[in-house]
Every structure is written in structure tokens, then in C-alpha cells.
């Protein structure tokens, strides 16, 4: 049995930032478990630039952003094991993991930080009928083939879903010589960042069809085409709008799901909207000593925010290990109406500083007002020129506000137009 103060599951941007912060906060015994061959997580295949504008004030590619943290992890001599898969976390925070070199590892941790990231929603989740031909894959899988392996997964491409990976891959495939016929988006708005719509689609004249979906896939061995159709407000295809588009590839970018198998197996409470754990302001779950951060907690639009959140979790785990994080009465947060979720879901009343609440809206708004209420009384009212589902919002609950709260109080966030 190995012993560490903090075991971090996942060596992507979340895991590395959490590890570095925990180290900075005075914990030396840290182990990162990473299932891929290298640290860096999904950033290794995200070779486009646009990372780090918030955190470093520079425009970096994914691997560059990751390498800054990998270099720091090495410099700080934080231990990590790559090609290592965590299989189980027990009630008493023993982590079982496996790799080729060490075989089965049994690691007793004082604190565990979950940083496993997320995965792409597959075709089955959409239940698209049609054939089972080759040429249907998630945008992220295609990204790996093109950027890491250096092979083309298709030449005539339809992309379903206008999430950022889908948009990025539209440009990437175009640059590499493929013809991207269109991007279809089921919703009446894109969930991708505006800059990606401009630079990845508009620049190349790739049409974005909103309120449109793929209703059939054709081709026996390889995809030969897809049928697309407009959808009504209930997202049902409108008869008569069907259109056949010839293509050899259908890329799916239809959402990301936090990878919470380990979390679920140990019985940690999950938020039905985020599909991630329910956490407090330090991102501690309802399982004592287990923290979660990054895309395993909720899907972020920018890695910079993942880094910041993971530093919070790293600090929380360090405080827990050092006995500085005491149990306390809590208030809960609650999204109202279009506010789909809020992270954290709970705040400890003994918290020593301000707490930032992150939330996401379910629709696009112009000149809307974000209202924050505590037990029905307005705390904050802030005008926002633009709100969109693809962009995470935040409000700050100050220490001064926190001091007026009482056990089991409720903080509500709503949007008024």
C-alpha cells in the first residue's frame, strides 16, 4: 500500500493546476495518476490557438498551454504516473489504479481530487437512425486522428453540432484539404464561442444551419450521405424540409459529458444538470476529502477557467490535509428559470473570503439583468449586455454578504429581461 496526502486522478490542465496549488499551499506528498502516455490531457490534441488569453494573457495552442504546467509539475518535483488508470476509490479514500509497470496499485490518500475531464456524447445518445457505416465519429476522435496521428478521417464532411470542437474541426479539416459541407445545429443558437463561429466557419464560407439536425445516415460500408431536416420549436424534424447531403464523413460535436464513473461508484452525490458532483466553494464533494474540478465537475468553455477552478480545489484539498478546512453550516445555491446550474452548489458559512459563483444560462439574452437573491432578498442586480449558453457567467458573493447568511439559506440566481 502506497501513502500520499493527495492523490489526483487525471493529469490534464485540471489535475496539474490542482497539484501545483496544493504544493504551493504546503502539501508535498502528491501523486497524479494519468491514463494517457503523457500529462496534458485533451490539450495535447487541441493544437489550435486561443488558450491562455485569460490566464497568461497570451494566445497559446493547447500543447503550449499544457507544457507550461507540465514544466512546473516537473520543476516542483510533483510525482506522477502516466499510462495509469484509476479503477476504484473506496469509502476510506483508497485509490486502486493499474498500469503495465507497477501492476495493480493500492494507494491510501488523505484527500483525492477528481480531475478526469469529460467525454463526447456519442451517436447513440442522439438515436440517429440509418446505417452503421464507417465514417461516423466524434469531432474529438477526428481531431486526434488529424493532429496526433496525421491521418485524414474524411474528405467530404458534415458536422452535427456547433460546439467548439465541431467548429474547430470544421476549420481544421478545411485547412487539411477536406470539404466541409455544413455544420448543423439542433438548437436555434450555437453553443460554440463567437470567435470560433467567425474564424472557423465564416472565414471559410462554411454554412451553419441552426434548428437543423441529421435525421438519416446513408451508406453500407462507408458513409455516402446524410439527410438533414429543419426542426420545430420542440426539436422535431419538420416534414418537407429533408435534404440529402452527400458526404463520406459525419462528425458529431453534440455535447460533452463529465466522466463520473468513479465518482458515481463511490456514491458521491451528482448534480442532475451538470452531471458532475455537488460541491462546496472549495469543490469538496459530499464524500469527505474528495474534491472535484475541471470538466469532470462541469463542462467549461475555456481551459483558463478550468485552471482557476482547479487551483481552488487544490487549495481546498491542501487545507483539508493540513486540518484547516473545518466542517461548517452551509447555504445552498439555486439557479432559477433560465439559469441552468450554479457551481458551487453549497457554501460553507465559515469560509474566510469571497466566493465566486459560476453559472450557465439556457438561452441567449441581450441587455438582461442578472439578479442574485438571498432567501428572496435581492443582493446583486447587474446589467449584462449579452448572455449566451456557450459562455459561463459568474457573480461574486462577498465575505460581507456571506457573514449575513444563516444555516440552510438559499442563494438564487435569475435573469430578468
Amino acid at each position: 500500500m502506497l501513502n500520499y496526502d493527495i492523490v489526483i486522478i487525471g493529469g490534464g490542465p485540471a489535475g496539474m493546476a490542482a497539484a501545483l496549488k496544493a504544493k504551493e499551499c504546503g502539501v508535498d506528498s502528491i501523486l497524479i495518476l494519468e491514463r494517457a502516455e503523457t500529462l496534458g490531457g485533451i490539450l495535447e490534441q487541441c493544437i489550435h490557438t486561443g488558450f491562455g488569453l485569460q490566464y497568461f494573457g497570451e494566445e497559446l495552442s493547447g500543447p503550449e498551454y499544457a507544457s507550461r504546467f507540465i514544466d512546473l509539475v516537473n520543476k516542483e518535483k510533483i510525482e506522477y504516473k502516466t499510462d495509469t488508470m484509476a479503477l476504484e476509490i473506496t469509502d476510506s479514500n483508497v485509490v486502486y489504479a493499474v498500469n503495465k509497470k507497477d501492476g495493480l496499485l493500492e494507494i491510501q490518500a488523505k484527500a483525492v481530487i477528481l480531475a478526469m475531464g469529460c467525454r463526447e456524447r456519442p451517436r447513440g445518445a442522439l438515436n440517429i437512425p440509418g446505417t452503421r457505416a464507417s465514417g461516423i465519429m466524434s469531432a474529438g476522435t477526428a481531431q486526434k486522428y488529424v493532429n496526433i496521428d496525421g491521418y485524414m478521417p474524411g474528405k467530404k464532411v458534415v458536422i452535427l453540432g456547433s460546439g467548439d470542437i465541431g467548429l474547430i474541426m470544421a476549420r481544421r479539416m478545411t485547412l487539411e484539404g477536406a470539404k466541409v459541407e455544413c455544420v448543423c445545429e439542433l438548437m436555434p443558437y450555437s453553443s460554440g464561442l463567437t470567435r470560433n463561429i467567425v474564424q472557423c466557419l465564416d472565414d471559410f464560407g462554411i454554412p451553419l444551419y441552426l434548428s437543423t439536425t441529421v435525421i438519416d445516415i446513408h451508406g453500407k460500408d462507408r458513409v455516402t450521405g446524410v439527410t438533414i431536416a429543419s426542426v420545430d420549436e420542440n426539436r422535431r424534424p419538420i416534414p418537407g424540409t429533408e435534404r440529402l447531403i452527400e458526404c463520406d464523413t459525419l462528425l458529431l460535436s453534440v455535447g460533452l459529458i463529465p466522466e463520473n464513473e468513479l465518482t458515481r461508484a463511490v456514491g458521491i452525490g451528482l448534480d442532475r444538470v451538470t452531471n458532475g458532483a455537488v460541491v462546496d466553494e472549495y469543490r469538496e464533494t459530499d464524500h469527505e476529502g474528495v474534491f472535484a474540478c475541471g470538466n469532470v465537475l462541469h463542462v467549461h468553455d475555456l481551459v483558463d477557467f478550468v485552471t482557476l477552478e482547479s487551483q481552488t480545489a487544490g487549495e481546498g484539498a491542501a487545507r483539508y490535509v493540513l486540518g484547516k478546512k473545518q466542517k461548517s453550516d452551509q447555504v445552498t445555491t439555486k439557479g432559477v428559470g433560465t439559469v441552468r446550474y450554479i457551481v458551487p452548489q453549497k457554501i460553507n458559512l465559515n469560509n474566510e473570503g469571497d466566493v465566486k459563483l459560476f453559472f450557465r444560462v439556457g438561452n441567449t439574452f441581450k441587455n438582461a439583468t442578472v439578479k442574485v437573491k438571498y432567501n428572496g432578498n435581492e443582493l446583486i442586480s447587474r446589467k449584462r449586455p449579452r448572455l449566451a449558453p456557450g459562455e459561463m457567467e459568474s457573480v461574486l458573493i462577498t465575505k460581507k454578504m456571506l457573514d449575513t447568511f444563516e444555516k440552510d439559506g438559499v442563494i438564487e440566481i435569475s435573469v430578468e429581461v
Binding site: 503495465k100 501492476g103 456519442p122 438515436n127 465519429m137 476522435t141 496521428d149 496525421g150
Partner: protein
């Protein structure tokens, strides 16, 4: 090459025919037009071992189903294939349907089905709590079970190959010549010679028979579409749940799979195209509505994939197994639709019986009925895992995260007798890519491993053979 018997079609019938034939001193070759075994009707069906009360008494379907069902436990033990005898219910939603249940019970008794019993609604619900409260009675058949049809077929072929049979893939028979004692079977590129032919070509049985001038078979491809639900809804049913056949057609079924998923389906539509396995939104919606009649809690939310299979239906509505009227050394195994999977061990035995009676082959003294149990890392204890990785570090690397499948298991699948040559082949043998992400992460890893082990470039790897390549050329 010269063989005693060429079996055309590596579905479940062909696989068991080949395996039974290797119990004798016969040189057997198994040919399939696809890149793997179990690629036709066998790949996509309800995965049920029926009790045997459906078929008309005295029919081959009735006889072989009951016989095959009885043999299934031992066969699955020998082949190390999970088989669960969970029992089935036929649900009745009216007094009229209750009458049908009684008829089925009588028919089952006549067919020799053990343990049939009619349950009232109370007894039904205590056995199957999620069943609709509109079900007034049910026919209980304790001998019904579930098995994974391609797993069974893969295991049977592996065992046949282990006992000396040969498997040739991508062999689409296009020509058969007979010199009176030896057939020459060709696909236009290669040929094999064999004294006997077993025509187990599923929906293509009629075309294969026509190659020797036997035009007596007319196969009607009958399409069945299905939905597969996530393991989280696998506990909605713990038995196979049928509905009463009515004049409006056969109802839909709900059944758990051996892996803990839930299957909903099938539709039944006669079509022309023998390769059309596309699914359709309206058909799937209809299936859902029908299955909700049995189990109201099933929902599209839990559906992880849909698929379709073709059943090889004959107008006679019975299996056609026996010597062709045109050639006594050409054995037809045609019209093998439901209960073909249930009957497979008995079909294999019957085919071997016909051939050995004709040629008088002696028993093969070195026949070994056991197919070694494949490593299933996900089912092991941590102690077993520790020992396994010490012996072979490849089991220490997880490739498929959703299903916890190791590199070692994938290498085993590739190097097994008649092993996997494509991504779907690895998936069927190991479950890599069958989980929630459906191969999003591990798909490219599996491609890499296949390329490495088969000694080819990764852009030569296919999803399921033929033109189903996954990658084009290098980007640069």
C-alpha cells in the same frame, strides 16, 4: 485446398455445423463473405434462447428449438459463453389473449417444453415488478434464457478451428462446380475443393443453392429493428417479456441481455435488399410505444444505440434442413430465423448427422469440446488482476475506459483462432467501444493495436471489412 466439407456462412448455424463436424475425422473449411464471423442474421437479433412453445408441433422449428434449448447449458459451459436461463413471460392484456396463452401452453406441452405455467397478474407482478399493471395473466416458461449470439458464434468457431477446421474470411462464393464427387467452390479469386457443402448462408441461402441449380429456396429478408438501452435501465426487466401474437402482428419484446443492458424490439418488415440494415425513426418510435405497453418505464432517454438485423424467412415458415433435391452432397440449412439461435446446437448436430451417415466418417478421438475462457479483467477481483498483470503486463493497460477493457484482452481477441481483424470484431470479442462513449476514446487505440499486431498501416484498418476503412491517407 481439399476438404471433406465446406460450410458456407459463419453465422451461428454454420459455426455449430463446423464444430459438430470436427467431432469426426473430417477436414472442414468455414467460408464467409465478410471479414469476420457472425456478421449476418446472427449479429443482430433478440439474443434469446426460446423455450419452444411457439412453433407448430412436429415442425423442425419445434423439435430443434426444444433440443437446442436443452443442450444450451452444457454447450455454453464448454465454450465459456455466458448463458442465463432467466425464463420468459408471454403477457396477456385481455381475456382474449389469456385464451391465446392457454393455446400456447398446450402447444408447448406437446412440443415437450418443461415447466410451463400460467401466472395470474399478482404472481406475475411479484416476479416482474415493473411490468404494466394492465397485464392480466402471463405464460411462464422457466427454460427460456439469454445468450449473446455473436459471442456464442465466435466461441463455436474458435473451438472448431482449435479442432482442425479452417476459417477463410472475405470469401464470397460466386461459383460452385461439381465433378460428381468433389465440389469446387470459388469466389472468382480463390477456390476450395470439398466433397460436401453445407449451405448456411442465411438470407443468401437461395442464391448459394441456385449456384448448383437448386431453385427451390426463396429467402425473404425480414428486417427487425432494435434499441439497446444503457445498463442503468437493465434492471427494468429480469425475464424475457413477450407479448401475445395477435392478428395485428407479433408484439414487441423487452429483455435484459447477459451484459445487463436492455433490448427493445423487434419490428418485422419484409424487404428486398439483403444488406439493408438501416434503422428508421418511425419504426423505432413504434417499437418504443409497443414495449411501453409491457414495461411503461422504458424510455428513449436510456437508449445508447439502435440496430437492425435481417431474418432469413421462408414462405413455409419452417427451417429447411437437409440434402438438396438437386445434389445429395449439398446440405441446405435455410430459413434459419427465430428460433435459430436457440436451435443452433441441434442444427449443428443434425447437419453433422446427415453428412456422417452419408460418408461414414469415424469419430475424431482428439476432439476437445472446451474453448478456454477469455480473460475478462472487469469481472476479476483485485487479487486476480494483480496476478494477471504480473504474468503479462499488457493486462495492466486499460484501453477502453467505459468497459474497463485491457490491451491484453484486445491482443487476445486479435490472436485468437479466427480472431478479430477489424474494429467491430475487437468490439464484439472484448466489448471495447461498447460503453457509453461508444469508442470515442478507445476507437483510435484499437485501430493502432490492430495495425501493430497485423503489421499494416493504421489507414488500412476497417470498421467491419470491405470498404469500411476508417482513415484515408496521411495528412502530409
Amino acid at each position: 485446398m481439399n476438404y471433406d466439407v465446406a460450410v458456407i456462412g459463419a453465422g451461428v448455424s454454420g459455426a455449430f455445423a463446423a464444430r459438430e463436424l470436427t467431432k469426426y475425422n473430417l477436414k472442414v473449411v468455414l467460408l464467409d463473405r465478410c471479414n469476420d464471423v457472425a456478421m449476418g442474421t446472427t449479429k443482430a437479433n433478440s439474443a434469446i434462447v426460446h423455450a419452444g412453445f411457439d412453433a407448430v408441433p412436429g415442425s423442425l422449428k419445434a423439435i430443434l428449438n426444444v433440443k437446442g434449448n436443452a443442450a444450451m447449458s452444457d454447450v455454453c459451459k464448454e465454450l465459456h459463453v455466458p448463458f442465463k436461463r432467466i425464463g420468459s413471460f408471454v403477457l396477456a392484456f385481455s381475456d382474449e389473449e389469456t385464451v391465446t396463452l392457454r393455446k400456447l401452453l398446450e402447444r408447448g406441452n406437446e412440443n415437450g417444453v418443461p415447466g410451463l405455467e400460467i401466472y395470474d397478474s399478482e404472481k406475475l407482478r411479484s416476479a416482474e415488478p415493473n411490468v404494466s399493471d394492465k397485464a392480466v395473466a402471463a405464460l411462464w416458461a422457466p427454460s427460456a434464457g439469454i445468450v449473446c449470439p455473436y459471442e456464442l458464434t465466435i466461441a463455436a468457431v474458435e473451438n472448431a478451428v482449435k479442432n482442425g477446421a479452417e476459417f477463410i474470411r472475405n470469401f464470397r462464393v460466386s461459383k460452385i462446380e461439381d465433378d460428381g464427387s468433389v465440389f469446387t467452390v470459388s469466389d472468382g479469386k480463390q477456390e476450395v475443393k470439398a466433397k460436401y457443402i453445407v449451405n448456411a448462408a442465411g438470407v443468401y441461402c437461395d442464391e448459394i443453392a441456385a449456384l448448383i441449380g437448386d431453385n427451390s429456396i426463396h429467402t425473404i429478408p425480414r428486417k427487425g429493428e432494435y434499441m439497446l438501452c444503457d445498463k442503468s435501465s437493465g434492471n427494468l426487466a429480469s425475464h424475457v417479456l413477450f407479448q401475445c401474437p395477435t392478428i395485428m402482428g407479433k408484439g414487441a419484446l423487452v429483455t435484459p441481455t447477459v451484459d445487463g443492458n436492455l433490448i427493445l424490439g423487434p419490428s418485422a418488415i419484409d424487404i428486398e435488399d439483403k444488406e439493408d440494415v438501416a434503422t428508421h425513426a418511425d419504426v423505432l418510435a413504434d417499437i418504443l410505444a409497443k414495449t411501453q405497453k409491457s414495461v411503461p418505464a422504458v424510455s428513449t432517454r436510456d437508449v445508447i444505440t439502435s440496430f437492425a438485423g435481417l431474418r432469413a424467412h421462408l414462405e413455409s415458415d419452417d427451417f429447411l434442413i437437409g440434402k438438396s433435391e438437386k445434389n445429395g452432397r449439398f446440405i441446405n440449412v435455410a430459413g434459419i430465423e427465430s428460433p435459430g439461435l436457440s436451435s443452433a446446437p441441434a442444427i449443428g448436430e443434425m447437419v453433422a448427422g446427415i453428412i456422417t451417415e452419408d460418408c461414414g466418417a469415424a469419430l475424431n478421438p482428439s476432439f476437445d469440446p472446451v474453448r478456454e475462457e477469455p480473460v475478462r479483467f472487469r469481472h476479476m477481483s483485485n487479487e486476480q488482476r494483480k496476478a494477471l498483470i504480473e504474468k503479462n503486463p499488457a493486462y495492466g493497460r486499460i484501453v477502453c475506459r467505459c468497459e474497463t477493457i485491457t490491451e491484453g484482452e484486445i491482443l487476445d481477441a486479435i490472436h485468437a483462432p479466427a480472431g478479430a481483424r477489424d474494429v467491430d470484431g475487437v468490439k464484439r470479442r472484448t466489448r471495447a467501444g461498447m460503453g457509453r462513449c461508444q469508442g470515442g476514446f478507445c476507437g483510435s487505440k484499437v485501430v493502432e493495436l490492430l495495425a501493430r499486431e497485423l503489421g499494416v498501416e493504421i489507414n488500412e484498418i476497417t470498421k467491419f471489412g470491405g470498404e469500411s476503412k476508417i482513415l484515408y491517407e496521411r495528412t502530409k
